[in-house]
Symmetry: C2
Subunit: 156 residues, 2 copies
DNA sequence: ATGGGGCTTCCCATGATGGGAAGGTCAACC
DNA sequence: GGTTGACCTTCCCATCATGGGAAGCCCCAT
């Protein structure tokens, strides 16, 4: 199978497959004499696995770990579950953070008449310091905590 | 005020202030004879405003819009409210997406015993195609929909 | 006048992804 | 057998907001 076919079959672009190879997420593919990469069904399975994990918001480094566990038939399920639960916890944290933002902003918007007049609590609040009461230093400065979300799941 | 003091007063790093200037989010600062940027209290207000908006997850281009409206004393509050509501809607969409991920993954984890034995539904599911039933092509391919979240709010 | 800290610009890196150029290859069709 | 078009290769660049760091200038206090 060529890289294009593997891409179509796995749902990962050819570009990304090469990238995954370059960063060591997957081993270097076999090559034809002409230098074309070739993929087996098994390789495609791995790629699909990776795509699904990414769809769950699992960051690359964790995916790498999972792929390793997946290919090791004897790993204890404990390890896999631990990774999944950690991912769930991080998703929950991110959701809580976004929810706090959303609620605060929705409250502000609610207080704004939204008519032709210029006075608007949204702007005065953003300018002032009332806002800080709404999120009392929750996520802020929680160094490096976030999932790697850059809006991935959503545009592949 | 020097850039360092403006940074401390606004909560935006000096590095970022220069960046904001370079991309036109704020106008070029005044300079001393030696080339040092100087900032007024009013400038710092603007920077604080920007920081707050970013804390709400508002992407840069929208912040730029808001700053413009904020400085225009005669804008109708309608415009501001519209932007805020759009932001709320996008936050809700993102939250829904993450929640779907989280629920699906939590369900999988729940089904995994997590003991010393190797069988684990998490991995078999990631490998198989059952997953697709859980998110029936929702966010996928919704081109460019996501907020720009790269985990900002959280590490400033 | 010297030292340390602040300022300047410029370059590089991140992470995952896409775009595109320049060039080689394969398969099908005439 | 030759042409064509679709595919492959590598390499470079851009994104977005942010941080790191180097080289060099500046200011203030001792």
């Amino acid at each position: 199978m060529n890289i294009g076919q593997a891409a179509a079959a796995s749902g990962i672009t050819a570009k990304m497959i090469r990238y995954y190879e370059s960063v060591g997420l997957i081993p270097p593919a076999e090559r034809t004499e002409a230098g074309y990469r070739t993929y087996s069904e098994r390789d495609v399975d791995t790629l699909r696995f990776i795509r699904r994990a990414r769809d769950f918001g699992v960051p690359m480094d964790r995916v790498k770990l999972l792929v390793g566990l997946w290919q090791d038939k004897d790993r204890p399920s404990r390890e896999v579950k631990a990774i999944a639960l950690r991912q769930v916890a991080e998703l929950e944290a991110k959701i809580a953070e976004l929810t706090a933002m959303k609620d605060a902003l929705a409250a502000l918007a609610h207080a704004c008449r939204g008519d032709g007049r210029p006075d608007c609590p949204i702007l005065t609040d953003l300018a002032g310091s009332l806002t800080s009461a709404l999120h009392p230093e929750p996520a802020r400065r929680s160094g490096k905590a976030g999932l790697g979300f850059a809006g991935h799941a959503g545009q592949r």
